[in-house]
Protein backbone atom coordinates (compact mmCIF):
# COMPACT_ATOMS: atom_id res chain seq x y z
CA UNK A 1 0.00 0.00 0.00
CA UNK A 2 3.03 2.20 0.31
CA UNK A 3 4.08 1.59 -3.27
CA UNK A 4 2.26 4.44 -5.09
CA UNK A 5 3.49 7.01 -2.58
CA UNK A 6 7.01 5.71 -2.94
CA UNK A 7 6.90 5.80 -6.71
CA UNK A 8 5.75 9.43 -6.72
CA UNK A 9 8.25 10.35 -4.03
CA UNK A 10 11.11 8.79 -5.94
CA UNK A 11 10.21 9.84 -9.45
CA UNK A 12 9.14 13.42 -8.76
CA UNK A 13 11.00 14.15 -5.51
CA UNK A 14 14.25 12.27 -5.14
CA UNK A 15 15.21 11.63 -8.75
CA UNK A 16 15.13 15.33 -9.77
CA UNK A 17 17.09 16.22 -6.64
CA UNK A 18 19.71 13.64 -7.51
CA UNK A 19 19.84 15.01 -11.03
CA UNK A 20 20.31 18.47 -9.58
CA UNK A 21 23.20 17.19 -7.44
CA UNK A 22 24.88 15.83 -10.55
CA UNK A 23 24.37 19.09 -12.42
CA UNK A 24 25.90 21.00 -9.55
CA UNK A 25 29.25 19.37 -10.38
CA UNK A 26 28.97 20.44 -14.00
CA UNK A 27 29.49 23.62 -15.91
CA UNK A 28 25.98 23.78 -17.28
CA UNK A 29 25.28 26.81 -19.47
CA UNK A 30 22.58 25.83 -21.99
CA UNK A 31 22.77 29.23 -23.67
CA UNK A 32 26.50 28.99 -24.48
CA UNK A 33 27.42 27.61 -27.92
CA UNK A 34 29.87 25.11 -26.38
CA UNK A 35 27.10 23.37 -24.38
CA UNK A 36 27.45 20.89 -22.66
CA UNK A 37 30.62 22.05 -20.99
CA UNK A 38 31.20 19.05 -18.72
CA UNK A 39 32.26 17.95 -15.29
CA UNK A 40 34.16 20.50 -13.20
CA UNK A 41 34.26 18.91 -9.73
CA UNK A 42 33.71 21.41 -6.93
CA UNK A 43 34.22 24.60 -8.87
CA UNK A 44 30.58 25.70 -8.51
CA UNK A 45 30.73 25.14 -4.76
CA UNK A 46 33.98 27.10 -4.47
CA UNK A 47 32.42 29.97 -6.39
CA UNK A 48 29.44 29.85 -4.05
CA UNK A 49 31.62 30.31 -0.98
CA UNK A 50 33.18 33.43 -2.51
CA UNK A 51 29.87 34.82 -3.80
CA UNK A 52 29.06 37.97 -1.84
CA UNK A 53 25.70 38.21 -3.57
CA UNK A 54 24.72 34.79 -2.26
CA UNK A 55 25.77 35.69 1.27
CA UNK A 56 23.79 38.92 0.98
CA UNK A 57 20.72 36.94 -0.13
CA UNK A 58 21.16 34.49 2.74
CA UNK A 59 21.38 37.33 5.26
CA UNK A 60 18.27 38.97 3.84
CA UNK A 61 16.41 35.65 3.98
CA UNK A 62 17.38 35.27 7.63
CA UNK A 63 16.23 38.80 8.50
CA UNK A 64 13.03 38.32 6.50
CA UNK A 65 12.18 34.98 8.11
CA UNK A 66 13.02 35.93 11.69
CA UNK A 67 11.14 39.22 11.63
CA UNK A 68 8.16 37.89 9.73
CA UNK A 69 7.76 34.80 11.90
CA UNK A 70 8.42 36.81 15.07
CA UNK A 71 5.88 39.48 14.21
CA UNK A 72 3.21 37.01 13.15
CA UNK A 73 3.79 34.98 16.32
CA UNK A 74 3.25 38.02 18.54
CA UNK A 75 0.23 39.28 16.60
CA UNK A 76 -1.20 35.79 16.15
CA UNK A 77 -0.90 35.05 19.87
CA UNK A 78 -2.49 38.35 20.81
CA UNK A 79 -5.36 37.61 18.40
CA UNK A 80 -5.77 34.08 19.78
CA UNK A 81 -6.16 35.46 23.31
CA UNK A 82 -8.40 38.27 22.10
CA UNK A 83 -10.73 35.93 20.23
CA UNK A 84 -10.93 33.55 23.14
CA UNK A 85 -13.41 35.83 24.89
CA UNK A 86 -16.93 34.58 24.80
CA UNK A 87 -18.69 37.51 23.18
CA UNK A 88 -21.29 37.59 20.42
CA UNK A 89 -19.99 38.19 16.91
CA UNK A 90 -16.44 37.03 17.53
CA UNK A 91 -17.00 33.71 15.76
CA UNK A 92 -17.79 35.46 12.48
CA UNK A 93 -14.85 37.85 12.87
CA UNK A 94 -12.61 34.87 13.54
CA UNK A 95 -13.67 33.27 10.28
CA UNK A 96 -13.25 36.45 8.24
CA UNK A 97 -9.75 37.00 9.54
CA UNK A 98 -8.60 33.78 7.85
CA UNK A 99 -9.13 35.21 4.35
CA UNK A 100 -5.57 36.50 3.74
CA UNK A 101 -4.02 33.03 3.94
CA UNK A 102 -6.49 31.74 1.35
CA UNK A 103 -5.75 34.30 -1.35
CA UNK A 104 -3.36 33.27 -4.14
CA UNK A 105 0.13 34.59 -3.25
CA UNK A 106 0.50 36.00 -6.77
CA UNK A 107 -2.67 38.05 -6.34
CA UNK A 108 -1.53 39.12 -2.87
CA UNK A 109 1.73 40.40 -4.33
CA UNK A 110 0.01 42.34 -7.10
CA UNK A 111 -2.67 43.78 -4.82
CA UNK A 112 -0.13 45.05 -2.30
CA UNK A 113 2.05 46.42 -5.07
CA UNK A 114 -0.97 48.39 -6.28
CA UNK A 115 -1.74 49.60 -2.77
CA UNK A 116 1.91 50.46 -2.08
CA UNK A 117 2.19 52.56 -5.23
CA UNK A 118 3.92 55.78 -4.06
CA UNK A 119 1.91 58.14 -6.28
CA UNK A 120 -1.51 56.53 -6.78
CA UNK A 121 -1.65 53.92 -4.03
CA UNK A 122 -4.36 53.84 -1.40
CA UNK A 123 -1.92 53.40 1.50
CA UNK A 124 -0.16 56.70 0.94
CA UNK A 125 -3.56 58.30 0.43
CA UNK A 126 -4.89 57.01 3.76
CA UNK A 127 -1.70 58.02 5.55
CA UNK A 128 -2.04 61.47 3.99
CA UNK A 129 -5.48 61.80 5.59
CA UNK A 130 -3.91 61.56 9.03
CA UNK A 131 -1.03 63.84 8.08
CA UNK A 132 1.74 61.34 7.35
CA UNK A 133 3.76 62.26 4.24
CA UNK A 134 3.96 59.86 1.29
CA UNK A 135 6.42 57.00 1.65
CA UNK A 136 8.32 55.15 -1.07
CA UNK A 137 7.47 51.65 0.26
CA UNK A 138 8.54 49.02 -2.29
CA UNK A 139 10.33 51.63 -4.39
CA UNK A 140 12.44 52.90 -1.52
CA UNK A 141 15.70 51.17 -0.68
CA UNK A 142 15.15 51.75 3.04
CA UNK A 143 11.58 50.51 3.18
CA UNK A 144 11.41 47.73 0.58
CA UNK A 145 12.42 44.92 2.94
CA UNK A 146 10.07 46.22 5.61
CA UNK A 147 7.25 46.40 3.07
CA UNK A 148 7.65 42.80 1.90
CA UNK A 149 7.80 41.69 5.54
CA UNK A 150 4.53 43.53 6.21
CA UNK A 151 2.91 41.65 3.34
CA UNK A 152 4.19 38.30 4.59
CA UNK A 153 2.95 39.09 8.10
CA UNK A 154 -0.40 40.13 6.68
CA UNK A 155 -0.82 36.95 4.69
CA UNK A 156 0.38 34.40 7.21
CA UNK A 157 -0.56 35.76 10.64
CA UNK A 158 -4.01 34.18 10.17
CA UNK A 159 -2.27 30.81 9.80
CA UNK A 160 -0.37 31.41 13.04
CA UNK A 161 -3.58 32.59 14.68
CA UNK A 162 -5.51 29.52 13.58
CA UNK A 163 -3.01 27.13 15.17
CA UNK A 164 -2.46 29.17 18.33
CA UNK A 165 -6.18 29.66 18.79
CA UNK A 166 -6.74 25.91 18.65
CA UNK A 167 -3.99 25.59 21.26
CA UNK A 168 -5.47 28.23 23.55
CA UNK A 169 -8.90 26.63 23.24
CA UNK A 170 -7.64 23.24 24.34
CA UNK A 171 -5.86 24.53 27.45
CA UNK A 172 -7.24 22.98 30.63
CA UNK A 173 -9.06 25.35 32.95
CA UNK A 174 -7.91 24.31 36.37
CA UNK A 175 -4.33 25.77 36.37
CA UNK A 176 -5.78 29.19 35.62
CA UNK A 177 -8.35 28.90 38.34
CA UNK A 178 -5.77 27.93 40.93
CA UNK A 179 -3.48 30.73 39.80
CA UNK A 180 -6.33 33.22 40.08
CA UNK A 181 -7.27 31.95 43.53
CA UNK A 182 -3.63 32.27 44.61
CA UNK A 183 -3.87 35.91 43.56
CA UNK A 184 -1.38 35.78 40.68
CA UNK A 185 -1.32 38.91 38.52
CA UNK A 186 -2.36 38.68 34.89
CA UNK A 187 1.19 39.12 33.67
CA UNK A 188 2.33 36.36 35.98
CA UNK A 189 -0.42 34.03 34.82
CA UNK A 190 0.53 34.73 31.22
CA UNK A 191 4.26 34.15 31.59
CA UNK A 192 4.17 31.35 34.14
CA UNK A 193 1.06 29.42 33.13
CA UNK A 194 -0.11 30.25 29.61
CA UNK A 195 3.23 30.40 27.83
CA UNK A 196 4.70 27.18 29.24
CA UNK A 197 1.50 25.29 28.51
CA UNK A 198 1.38 26.64 24.97
CA UNK A 199 5.03 25.81 24.27
CA UNK A 200 4.51 22.73 22.04
CA UNK A 201 1.87 24.47 19.93
CA UNK A 202 4.00 27.61 19.61
CA UNK A 203 7.04 25.60 18.53
CA UNK A 204 5.04 23.73 15.92
CA UNK A 205 3.50 26.91 14.54
CA UNK A 206 6.90 28.61 14.39
CA UNK A 207 8.47 25.65 12.62
CA UNK A 208 5.76 25.43 9.97
CA UNK A 209 5.74 29.19 9.44
CA UNK A 210 9.53 29.46 9.26
CA UNK A 211 9.83 26.70 6.70
CA UNK A 212 7.26 28.45 4.52
CA UNK A 213 8.72 31.89 5.05
CA UNK A 214 12.17 30.77 3.91
CA UNK A 215 10.65 29.58 0.63
CA UNK A 216 8.68 32.75 -0.07
CA UNK A 217 8.91 33.62 -3.72
CA UNK A 218 5.64 34.51 -5.45
CA UNK A 219 4.67 37.66 -3.56
CA UNK A 220 8.13 39.20 -3.66
CA UNK A 221 8.62 38.24 -7.29
CA UNK A 222 5.41 40.11 -8.11
CA UNK A 223 6.24 43.11 -5.93
CA UNK A 224 9.92 43.87 -6.41
CA UNK A 225 11.72 41.02 -8.26
CA UNK A 226 14.42 41.43 -5.62
CA UNK A 227 14.87 45.16 -6.16
CA UNK A 228 15.32 48.04 -5.71
CA UNK A 229 19.08 47.60 -5.77
CA UNK A 230 18.67 44.04 -4.46
CA UNK A 231 17.31 45.10 -1.08
CA UNK A 232 14.68 42.35 -1.23
CA UNK A 233 16.82 39.79 -3.04
CA UNK A 234 16.06 36.72 -0.91
CA UNK A 235 17.70 33.39 -1.71
CA UNK A 236 14.70 32.18 -3.70
CA UNK A 237 14.80 35.28 -5.91
CA UNK A 238 18.56 35.16 -6.33
CA UNK A 239 18.31 31.50 -7.35
CA UNK A 240 15.66 32.40 -9.88
CA UNK A 241 17.98 35.00 -11.43
CA UNK A 242 21.00 32.70 -11.49
CA UNK A 243 18.99 30.02 -13.25
CA UNK A 244 16.69 31.91 -15.57
CA UNK A 245 18.50 35.16 -16.22
CA UNK A 246 22.17 34.17 -16.20
CA UNK A 247 21.33 30.56 -17.25
CA UNK A 248 24.10 29.33 -14.98
CA UNK A 249 22.23 26.12 -14.16
CA UNK A 250 25.20 24.27 -12.69
CA UNK A 251 25.99 27.09 -10.32
CA UNK A 252 22.29 27.43 -9.44
CA UNK A 253 22.16 23.74 -8.56
CA UNK A 254 25.22 24.07 -6.32
CA UNK A 255 23.68 27.06 -4.55
CA UNK A 256 20.40 25.16 -4.19
CA UNK A 257 22.13 22.26 -2.56
CA UNK A 258 24.06 24.46 -0.15
CA UNK A 259 20.81 26.21 0.73
CA UNK A 260 19.04 22.88 1.18
CA UNK A 261 21.77 21.61 3.50
CA UNK A 262 21.64 24.78 5.61
CA UNK A 263 17.86 24.56 5.76
CA UNK A 264 17.84 20.90 6.79
CA UNK A 265 20.48 21.57 9.45
CA UNK A 266 18.39 24.44 10.82
CA UNK A 267 15.21 22.35 10.86
CA UNK A 268 16.91 19.40 12.54
CA UNK A 269 18.53 21.67 15.12
CA UNK A 270 15.18 23.25 15.83
CA UNK A 271 13.43 19.89 16.21
CA UNK A 272 16.21 18.62 18.50
CA UNK A 273 16.12 21.75 20.58
CA UNK A 274 12.37 21.88 20.88
CA UNK A 275 11.83 18.16 21.28
CA UNK A 276 8.60 18.62 19.43
CA UNK A 277 8.72 15.38 17.47
CA UNK A 278 9.42 13.53 20.69
CA UNK A 279 6.27 14.91 22.25
CA UNK A 280 4.32 14.06 19.09
CA UNK A 281 5.67 10.51 19.25
CA UNK A 282 4.76 10.23 22.91
CA UNK A 283 1.26 11.32 22.06
CA UNK A 284 1.03 8.59 19.46
CA UNK A 285 2.37 5.95 21.81
CA UNK A 286 -0.46 6.58 24.21
Amino acid sequence: MLAPTFIVLTAVGIYPLGYSLWISFNDYHPSNPSFPQGFIWFENYLTAFLDGQARHALGLTAIFTVSSVGASLVIGFALALLFNQRLPGLAIARTLILIPMLVTPIAVGITWRIMFNPDLGVINYLLGLIGIPSQGWLASMNQSLLSVIVVDVWQWTPFMFLILFAGVRSLPRSPFESAAIDGASRAKIFFLVTLPMMRPVILLAVLLRAVDSVRTFDQIFMMTRGGPNQTTDLVSLYLQRVNFKFFDIGYGAALSWLFLILLMAAVIAFIRYSGFLRSAAEKEAR
Binding site: L2, T5, V8, V12, L79, A80, W154, N243
Partner: protein
Protein backbone atom coordinates in the same frame (compact mmCIF):
# COMPACT_ATOMS: atom_id res chain seq x y z
CA UNK B 1 -5.98 43.41 29.32
CA UNK B 2 -6.54 40.37 27.19
CA UNK B 3 -3.70 38.30 28.52
CA UNK B 4 -5.98 35.82 30.24
CA UNK B 5 -6.78 33.00 27.82
CA UNK B 6 -9.73 31.76 29.85
CA UNK B 7 -11.84 34.88 30.28
CA UNK B 8 -11.95 36.08 33.83
CA UNK B 9 -15.45 37.37 33.14
CA UNK B 10 -17.05 34.44 34.85
CA UNK B 11 -14.22 34.14 37.31
CA UNK B 12 -13.64 37.45 39.07
CA UNK B 13 -10.23 37.69 40.69
CA UNK B 14 -9.63 38.67 44.29
CA UNK B 15 -9.59 42.38 43.71
CA UNK B 16 -12.81 42.57 41.74
CA UNK B 17 -14.62 40.54 44.38
CA UNK B 18 -13.78 43.25 46.90
CA UNK B 19 -15.02 46.14 44.76
CA UNK B 20 -18.73 47.04 44.74
CA UNK B 21 -20.86 45.42 42.02
CA UNK B 22 -21.51 48.61 40.05
CA UNK B 23 -17.77 49.25 39.71
CA UNK B 24 -17.24 45.73 38.52
CA UNK B 25 -19.95 46.05 35.97
CA UNK B 26 -18.57 49.32 34.62
CA UNK B 27 -15.11 47.84 34.31
CA UNK B 28 -16.54 44.85 32.59
CA UNK B 29 -18.40 46.81 29.95
CA UNK B 30 -15.26 48.88 29.41
CA UNK B 31 -13.38 45.66 28.84
CA UNK B 32 -15.97 44.39 26.38
CA UNK B 33 -15.70 47.64 24.44
CA UNK B 34 -11.92 47.36 24.38
CA UNK B 35 -12.15 43.81 23.03
CA UNK B 36 -14.51 44.87 20.25
CA UNK B 37 -12.28 47.84 19.48
CA UNK B 38 -9.23 45.65 19.03
CA UNK B 39 -11.19 43.11 16.97
CA UNK B 40 -12.28 45.96 14.71
CA UNK B 41 -8.68 47.12 14.22
CA UNK B 42 -7.61 43.56 13.40
CA UNK B 43 -10.48 43.12 10.94
CA UNK B 44 -9.62 46.35 9.13
CA UNK B 45 -5.97 45.39 8.82
CA UNK B 46 -6.60 41.85 7.62
CA UNK B 47 -9.59 42.54 5.39
CA UNK B 48 -8.82 45.89 3.81
CA UNK B 49 -6.40 44.58 1.12
CA UNK B 50 -8.91 41.90 0.14
CA UNK B 51 -11.69 44.47 0.10
CA UNK B 52 -9.52 46.71 -2.08
CA UNK B 53 -8.88 43.86 -4.51
CA UNK B 54 -12.60 43.08 -4.77
CA UNK B 55 -13.49 46.73 -5.32
CA UNK B 56 -10.76 47.27 -7.92
CA UNK B 57 -11.97 44.25 -9.87
CA UNK B 58 -15.19 46.10 -10.69
CA UNK B 59 -13.61 49.45 -11.53
CA UNK B 60 -13.11 50.84 -15.01
CA UNK B 61 -9.50 51.66 -16.03
CA UNK B 62 -10.14 55.33 -15.27
CA UNK B 63 -11.55 54.70 -11.80
CA UNK B 64 -8.96 52.17 -10.75
CA UNK B 65 -6.01 54.55 -11.11
CA UNK B 66 -7.89 57.66 -9.98
CA UNK B 67 -6.19 59.74 -7.31
CA UNK B 68 -7.44 60.36 -4.72
CA UNK B 69 -8.97 56.85 -4.85
CA UNK B 70 -12.69 56.77 -5.61
CA UNK B 71 -14.93 54.91 -3.19
CA UNK B 72 -18.20 55.30 -5.06
CA UNK B 73 -18.14 54.36 -8.72
CA UNK B 74 -20.13 52.67 -11.43
CA UNK B 75 -19.27 48.95 -11.28
CA UNK B 76 -18.31 47.30 -14.56
CA UNK B 77 -17.65 43.73 -15.66
CA UNK B 78 -15.19 44.81 -18.37
CA UNK B 79 -12.21 43.39 -16.48
CA UNK B 80 -13.74 39.92 -16.36
CA UNK B 81 -14.70 40.16 -20.03
CA UNK B 82 -11.17 41.08 -21.01
CA UNK B 83 -9.74 38.26 -18.90
CA UNK B 84 -11.80 35.75 -20.87
CA UNK B 85 -11.41 37.34 -24.27
CA UNK B 86 -7.75 38.30 -24.40
CA UNK B 87 -5.99 36.66 -21.44
CA UNK B 88 -7.17 33.09 -22.07
CA UNK B 89 -8.70 32.83 -18.61
CA UNK B 90 -11.23 30.20 -19.63
CA UNK B 91 -8.72 27.69 -20.94
CA UNK B 92 -6.49 28.40 -17.94
CA UNK B 93 -9.45 27.73 -15.68
CA UNK B 94 -10.04 24.43 -17.45
CA UNK B 95 -6.36 23.53 -17.09
CA UNK B 96 -6.39 24.47 -13.43
CA UNK B 97 -9.46 22.36 -12.75
CA UNK B 98 -8.04 19.31 -14.56
CA UNK B 99 -4.57 19.55 -13.02
CA UNK B 100 -5.64 20.44 -9.49
CA UNK B 101 -8.59 18.04 -9.50
CA UNK B 102 -6.62 15.03 -10.71
CA UNK B 103 -3.61 15.68 -8.49
CA UNK B 104 -5.83 16.16 -5.45
CA UNK B 105 -7.54 12.82 -6.13
CA UNK B 106 -4.25 11.01 -6.70
CA UNK B 107 -2.64 12.45 -3.59
CA UNK B 108 -5.69 11.49 -1.55
CA UNK B 109 -5.79 7.91 -2.80
CA UNK B 110 -2.05 7.23 -2.60
CA UNK B 111 -1.62 9.13 0.65
CA UNK B 112 -4.52 7.47 2.45
CA UNK B 113 -3.24 4.04 1.45
CA UNK B 114 0.22 4.89 2.74
CA UNK B 115 -1.17 6.42 5.93
CA UNK B 116 -3.27 3.35 6.57
CA UNK B 117 -0.29 1.08 6.08
CA UNK B 118 1.95 3.20 8.30
CA UNK B 119 -0.64 3.33 11.06
CA UNK B 120 -1.85 -0.25 11.00
CA UNK B 121 0.90 -2.58 9.87
CA UNK B 122 4.26 -3.31 11.43
CA UNK B 123 6.65 -1.80 8.97
CA UNK B 124 10.32 -1.48 9.74
CA UNK B 125 11.52 2.10 10.17
CA UNK B 126 8.11 3.60 9.69
CA UNK B 127 9.00 6.71 11.66
CA UNK B 128 11.84 7.36 9.24
CA UNK B 129 9.50 6.87 6.30
CA UNK B 130 6.99 9.29 7.77
CA UNK B 131 9.75 11.84 8.43
CA UNK B 132 11.05 11.53 4.89
CA UNK B 133 7.59 12.18 3.54
CA UNK B 134 7.38 15.24 5.77
CA UNK B 135 10.69 16.54 4.42
CA UNK B 136 9.04 16.97 1.01
CA UNK B 137 7.02 19.74 2.60
CA UNK B 138 10.21 21.58 3.52
CA UNK B 139 11.75 21.44 0.06
CA UNK B 140 11.87 24.95 -1.45
CA UNK B 141 10.15 24.86 -4.85
CA UNK B 142 12.87 27.00 -6.39
CA UNK B 143 15.34 24.19 -5.65
CA UNK B 144 13.42 21.40 -7.36
CA UNK B 145 11.90 23.38 -10.21
CA UNK B 146 15.09 23.52 -12.32
CA UNK B 147 15.86 19.78 -12.40
CA UNK B 148 12.17 19.10 -13.00
CA UNK B 149 12.21 21.58 -15.87
CA UNK B 150 15.23 19.87 -17.46
CA UNK B 151 13.78 16.40 -16.95
CA UNK B 152 10.38 17.44 -18.29
CA UNK B 153 12.05 18.67 -21.46
CA UNK B 154 14.06 15.48 -21.76
CA UNK B 155 11.00 13.23 -21.45
CA UNK B 156 8.69 15.38 -23.55
CA UNK B 157 6.47 16.24 -20.60
CA UNK B 158 7.07 19.97 -20.75
CA UNK B 159 3.87 22.00 -21.06
CA UNK B 160 1.62 18.97 -20.46
CA UNK B 161 -0.85 18.26 -17.70
CA UNK B 162 1.13 15.24 -16.59
CA UNK B 163 4.16 17.04 -15.23
CA UNK B 164 2.05 19.45 -13.16
CA UNK B 165 -0.18 16.65 -11.93
CA UNK B 166 2.89 14.70 -10.80
CA UNK B 167 4.37 17.71 -9.01
CA UNK B 168 1.14 18.65 -7.23
CA UNK B 169 0.52 15.05 -6.22
CA UNK B 170 3.94 15.04 -4.61
CA UNK B 171 3.21 18.37 -2.90
CA UNK B 172 -0.06 17.05 -1.47
CA UNK B 173 1.22 13.69 -0.26
CA UNK B 174 2.90 14.81 3.00
CA UNK B 175 -0.32 16.42 4.17
CA UNK B 176 -2.45 13.41 3.34
CA UNK B 177 -0.07 10.86 4.83
CA UNK B 178 0.47 12.74 8.06
CA UNK B 179 -3.05 13.89 8.69
CA UNK B 180 -4.66 10.61 7.72
CA UNK B 181 -2.18 8.68 9.85
CA UNK B 182 -3.53 10.45 12.91
CA UNK B 183 -7.12 9.87 11.84
CA UNK B 184 -6.48 6.17 11.23
CA UNK B 185 -4.88 5.85 14.65
CA UNK B 186 -8.02 7.24 16.20
CA UNK B 187 -10.22 4.52 14.73
CA UNK B 188 -10.45 1.74 17.32
CA UNK B 189 -8.81 -1.42 16.10
CA UNK B 190 -11.59 -3.47 17.64
CA UNK B 191 -14.08 -2.23 15.04
CA UNK B 192 -11.86 -3.41 12.21
CA UNK B 193 -11.10 -6.68 13.95
CA UNK B 194 -14.79 -7.33 14.40
CA UNK B 195 -15.29 -6.82 10.66
CA UNK B 196 -12.38 -9.14 9.91
CA UNK B 197 -13.87 -11.81 12.15
CA UNK B 198 -17.17 -11.43 10.36
CA UNK B 199 -15.43 -12.30 7.11
CA UNK B 200 -14.45 -8.99 5.51
CA UNK B 201 -11.21 -8.84 3.58
CA UNK B 202 -8.57 -6.22 4.48
CA UNK B 203 -9.62 -4.06 1.55
CA UNK B 204 -13.28 -4.33 2.44
CA UNK B 205 -12.43 -3.24 5.97
CA UNK B 206 -10.66 -0.20 4.57
CA UNK B 207 -13.44 0.81 2.22
CA UNK B 208 -16.52 -0.13 4.23
CA UNK B 209 -15.46 0.49 7.82
CA UNK B 210 -12.45 2.76 8.09
CA UNK B 211 -12.93 5.11 5.17
CA UNK B 212 -16.37 6.38 6.28
CA UNK B 213 -14.88 7.07 9.71
CA UNK B 214 -12.03 9.02 8.13
CA UNK B 215 -14.27 11.30 6.09
CA UNK B 216 -13.85 14.43 8.23
CA UNK B 217 -10.09 14.08 7.99
CA UNK B 218 -10.30 13.58 4.25
CA UNK B 219 -12.43 16.70 3.89
CA UNK B 220 -9.86 18.83 5.71
CA UNK B 221 -6.96 17.45 3.70
CA UNK B 222 -8.78 17.95 0.43
CA UNK B 223 -9.23 21.64 1.18
CA UNK B 224 -5.60 22.11 2.10
CA UNK B 225 -4.02 20.29 -0.82
CA UNK B 226 -6.54 21.86 -3.18
CA UNK B 227 -5.57 25.29 -1.87
CA UNK B 228 -1.83 24.76 -2.26
CA UNK B 229 -2.12 23.31 -5.76
CA UNK B 230 -4.68 25.88 -6.91
CA UNK B 231 -2.50 28.79 -5.76
CA UNK B 232 0.84 27.34 -6.90
CA UNK B 233 2.73 29.57 -9.31
CA UNK B 234 6.42 28.71 -9.63
CA UNK B 235 6.04 25.20 -11.06
CA UNK B 236 3.06 26.28 -13.12
CA UNK B 237 5.02 29.01 -14.84
CA UNK B 238 8.30 27.13 -15.29
CA UNK B 239 6.89 23.81 -16.45
CA UNK B 240 4.31 25.12 -18.91
CA UNK B 241 4.32 27.62 -21.74
CA UNK B 242 0.85 27.81 -23.25
CA UNK B 243 -1.06 24.52 -23.58
CA UNK B 244 -1.13 23.65 -19.86
CA UNK B 245 -1.02 27.19 -18.48
CA UNK B 246 -2.97 27.50 -15.21
CA UNK B 247 -4.72 30.42 -13.53
CA UNK B 248 -1.85 31.72 -11.34
CA UNK B 249 0.19 32.15 -14.51
CA UNK B 250 -2.60 34.24 -16.04
CA UNK B 251 -2.65 36.29 -12.83
CA UNK B 252 1.07 36.91 -13.08
CA UNK B 253 0.70 37.83 -16.76
CA UNK B 254 -1.36 40.87 -15.81
CA UNK B 255 1.97 42.40 -14.75
CA UNK B 256 3.39 43.60 -18.02
CA UNK B 257 6.69 45.40 -18.65
CA UNK B 258 4.85 48.69 -19.21
CA UNK B 259 2.99 48.34 -15.92
CA UNK B 260 0.30 46.42 -14.14
CA UNK B 261 -3.23 46.31 -15.43
CA UNK B 262 -4.74 47.02 -11.99
CA UNK B 263 -8.30 46.09 -12.80
CA UNK B 264 -7.40 42.84 -14.58
CA UNK B 265 -5.05 41.77 -11.80
CA UNK B 266 -7.71 42.38 -9.17
CA UNK B 267 -10.36 40.57 -11.20
CA UNK B 268 -8.29 37.42 -11.62
CA UNK B 269 -7.28 37.55 -7.95
CA UNK B 270 -10.92 37.75 -6.92
CA UNK B 271 -11.94 34.91 -9.24
CA UNK B 272 -9.20 32.64 -7.93
CA UNK B 273 -9.95 33.33 -4.31
CA UNK B 274 -13.63 32.36 -4.50
CA UNK B 275 -13.36 28.54 -4.54
CA UNK B 276 -10.66 28.47 -1.87
CA UNK B 277 -12.49 30.83 0.46
CA UNK B 278 -15.75 28.90 0.08
CA UNK B 279 -14.10 25.50 0.64
CA UNK B 280 -11.99 26.67 3.55
CA UNK B 281 -14.88 28.26 5.35
CA UNK B 282 -16.93 25.08 4.89
CA UNK B 283 -14.16 22.89 6.30
CA UNK B 284 -13.02 25.44 8.85
CA UNK B 285 -13.42 23.07 11.79
CA UNK B 286 -10.81 20.70 10.45
CA UNK B 287 -8.40 23.18 8.92
CA UNK B 288 -6.10 23.37 11.93
CA UNK B 289 -5.65 19.63 11.98
CA UNK B 290 -4.78 19.52 8.34
CA UNK B 291 -2.36 22.41 8.44
CA UNK B 292 -0.47 21.06 11.45
CA UNK B 293 -0.19 17.55 10.02
CA UNK B 294 -2.70 16.27 12.52
CA UNK B 295 -0.69 17.35 15.57
CA UNK B 296 -3.04 20.09 16.80
CA UNK B 297 -6.73 19.38 17.15
CA UNK B 298 -9.05 22.12 15.96
Amino acid sequence: MTTLPRPSLSLPGRRSAESPPWGYRARRSLKVMAVYGMVAVALVFFLFPYFWMVVSAFKSPGDVTAYPPVWLFEPTLDNFRELIESMGALSALRNSLIVVGLSTCLALIFGTMAAYALARFNIKGKETIALEILMVRMLPPIVSVIPLFLLARKFGLFDTYWILIAVYTLMGLPFVVWVMRVFVQEIPRSIEEAALVDGCTRLQVLFRISLPLMLPGLAATVVIIFMFAWNEYLFATMLTSSAAKTLPVVAANTVKPRGISWGLASAVGLLMSIPVVVLALLAQRYLVRGLTFGVVKG
